[in-house]
């Protein structure tokens, strides 16, 4: 089935690259969405059934795939009205939608992969397709962002590869060269710890480029700034999740070894420093897309912190990751409308958004409440769990420092967002404002509604899937 899905998506992507007709393009997108959902439903009903040798739809991959499939609907639909008014060039449009399809396909495959090298290959493909999306506008800014993104991600992925090589040294005499995650889990306690440490350091540093933590987060910020809003919505949610999946699968293996504590320390330090960096930049950033990108760094820091804290933190980490994906992608999609209205991403040139687009402004306000984890946002629940996990593992000092940083972030973000919503820009003339249809914000509201619903009253199946995905950690 996965082979059918992969070949189908590649064929659709190829047709999109070649096709110049607008209506055919629309049909291809619909076809791809159907295919994506068929695969999601199939993986739900065929849980833990191996697909060929290299893929197993386990609980974590199902959660991530369904998240991706949900977010890809508004992302692709919004791409549609995003791309036309800009410049109606069929070739550019084909490249854009084709890359979008390849990105979603490689993300899905990377989630489902059960072999460490297969994950790596598909993550590599996400880099390539993402760079085509960043390059969409073809001006000097997007060239710079694309250049940095390809370069930093390529080097990071080389690091991951070096880590995989070290891992195979650690395997040593255990001659099971198939580096399947399940086999690694089984042999983990007997592995050489020195090589395991080296392997983890390299793999973790490498995946931070996707995950958005110190030290490789920089390229992702520029990418989210310069990519078209629907693509940025994918980058700041599901593309970061792929980094998390890469790290999480290695962490599962390492949790069964004697260096578990050391790994926790490394992740704790990195995550805390990332939140710190996010807070510092949040205070001075003046570009709304970059502000949201730094907020993603902060949330990924929280997720990794929860993973390092353990206990209830494992559950919280995955819940927070999923909720953040919905909230952040919704905000990024709305920024697309914001940009259409004001023709600028600078906070100083945006103001009094309520006057131009009431549904959009309410959405930003509500999105702000969601993303800063105020009730009724579901992220409030998950962050509370993270705090409890931190106290439970005796990291109260870190918790206090983190709460101070989070307060700073809420203040900085609130200041900017309320200015954009309520305070008019002096000397602005409202001659060329495009009216936004209120129906266009509907899908974004649905995403935010999911954040509230999944956090406050999670359906039993959803909670079970999360519990099942962390089953290897509780021992």
């Amino acid at each position: 089935m996965i082979l059918l899905y992969l070949t189908g998506s590649v064929l659709i992507a190829l047709c999109m690259f070649l096709n110049t007709n607008r209506r055919v393009n629309r049909m291809l997108i619909a076809g791809f969405l159907v295919l994506q959902w068929i695969w999601s439903v199939y993986s739900l009903t065929h849980k833990n059934v191996p697909e060929y040798i290299f893929f197993i739809p386990d609980a974590l991959s199902i959660l991530m795939t369904v998240t991706l499939s949900i977010i890809s609907i508004p992302a692709l639909v919004h791409s549609y009205d995003y791309i036309y008014p800009e410049h109606d060039n069929p070739r550019v449009r084909g490249i854009y939608f084709g890359s979008m399809v390849v990105l979603i396909m490689s993300l899905t495959a990377a989630y489902v992969a059960s072999h460490i090298a297969v994950t790596w290959i598909f993550v590599e493909i996400t880099t390539l397709s993402a760079s085509a999306l960043i390059f969409h506008r073809r001006n000097s800014g997007s060239i710079e962002a694309t250049w940095k993104y390809i370069f930093v991600c390529s080097i990071s992925l080389v690091f991951v590869f070096i880590g995989i090589l070290f891992l195979s040294i650690a395997l040593g005499d255990i001659r099971e060269n198939d580096m399947q995650y399940s086999i690694l889990l089984r042999v983990a306690p007997s592995l050489n710890t020195f090589w395991l440490k080296l392997a983890f350091i390299f793999i973790f540093i490498g995946y931070t480029a996707k995950l958005g933590l110190i030290p490789m987060y920089t390229a992702g910020i520029d990418a989210k700034d310069k990519a078209p809003s629907p693509a940025a919505a994918l980058f700041s949610s599901v593309l970061m999740n792929v980094g998390f999946v890469g790290v999480f699968r290695c962490y599962e293996v390492l949790a069964h070894t004697s260096i578990h504590k050391w790994v926790d320390q490394v992740m704790l330090t990195t995550a805390f420093l990332s939140i710190f960096v996010a807070a510092v930049y949040m205070l001075k950033v003046k570009n709304v897309k970059r502000m949201l990108a730094y907020s993603s760094i902060e949330h990924m820091g929280i997720v990794i912190l929860a993973l390092a804290a353990g206990g209830i933190g494992y559950y919280a980490a995955i819940l927070h990751l999923i909720l953040h994906s919905f909230a952040k992608s919704s905000l990024f999609l709305q920024v697309g409308h914001l940009y259409k209205t004001f023709r600028s991403k600078n906070i100083y040139s945006i103001g009094n958004y309520f006057r131009y687009n009431v549904p959009g402004a309410v959405l930003i306000l509500f999105g702000f409440i969601c993303i800063t984890a105020m009730p009724p946002s579901g992220m409030f629940i998950s962050e509370l769990m993270v705090f409890r996990a931190l106290i439970g593992s005796g990291y109260t000092g870190i918790l206090i420092l983190m709460l101070i940083l989070l307060t700073l972030i809420v203040w900085a973000m609130g200041k900017n967002i309320f200015k954009m919503l309520f305070i008019p820009v002096p000397g602005r003339e409202d001659l060329h404002v495009e009216a936004v249809s209120p129906y266009e914000t509907l899908l974004q509201y649905l995403l935010l509604a999911l954040v509230v619903y999944l956090g406050i009253a999670p359906p039993a199946g959803f909670a079970d899937l999360i519990k099942e995905s962390i089953i290897n950690l509780n021992h």
Partner: protein, 209 residues
């Protein structure tokens, strides 16, 4: 024989540190591709046809012919100045690369592992770290791509150092990685060259907070 080849590879890193012209860099890349072919060919004695073809493709065709020729084409097309113009003087570069090689040698002496061939390990890690150093010390965008290829060469040697043959899939992955990223980056240099006059990283630093 392998030892000699690997030592020549390490020396080529030192030569890279003091070389002054971009064309010399490109020639060093071609040389490294040939060395890689020699090493892998001797290393994998019992070789099957598929693997041999793959290695031939990866080392000779891609690494010592396609990439250098493509780099040459990019340099000519964009009329990039032939001098490398590094940030730091050559002597300092030479000293730093030497220090890197010596320190990886010292580190490798602390590692006791029967599965690991030390000379591969030293060569591979010095290539990776020198590559990172070259990226940070050179000014032109094209030298960044060339340094990236050096890092990739180091990774290939490291995969040999691991000894147990990596599966075919991984080999294909490396090939894809090198092929696509280098060519993508190369095409990009053309684009950068269209916007900015001189492929200089200074002009690529507008995005910041």
């Amino acid at each position: 024989m392998i030892t000699i080849l690997l030592i020549v590879f390490t020396v080529s890193l030192l030569y890279f540190a003091i070389a002054n012209r971009l064309m010399t860099y490109v020639k060093i890349l071609a040389l490294q591709g040939l060395i890689l072919f020699g090493v892998t060919f001797i290393e994998l004695i019992e070789i099957n046809v598929v693997n041999l073809v793959l290695i031939l493709l990866e080392t000779i065709v891609v690494k010592s012919l396609a990439i250098p020729l493509f780099m040459q084409y990019v340099i000519r097309k964009n009329k990039i100045t032939r001098e490398a113009e590094p940030f730091v003087p050559h002597t300092v570069s030479l000293i730093i690369v030497t220090v890197l090689i010596v320190s990886t040698y010292i580190i490798s002496n602390y590692i006791i592992d029967p599965h690991l061939d030390k000379i591969y390990f030293v060569t591979a890690l010095s290539a990776v770290f020198s590559g990172l150093y070259f990226i940070s010390s050179r000014r032109k965008v094209i030298t960044h791509v060339i340094s990236y290829v050096i890092i990739e060469n180091g990774v290939v040697i490291l995969s040999l150092a691991v000894g147990n043959e990596m599966p075919l899939l991984v080999n294909l992955g490396i090939l894809l990685d090198v092929f696509v990223s280098v060519f993508l980056l190369g095409i990009f240099i053309n684009k950068v060259g269209d916007v900015t006059s001189e492929g200089d990283v200074k002009q690529l630093s507008k995005l910041k907070d």
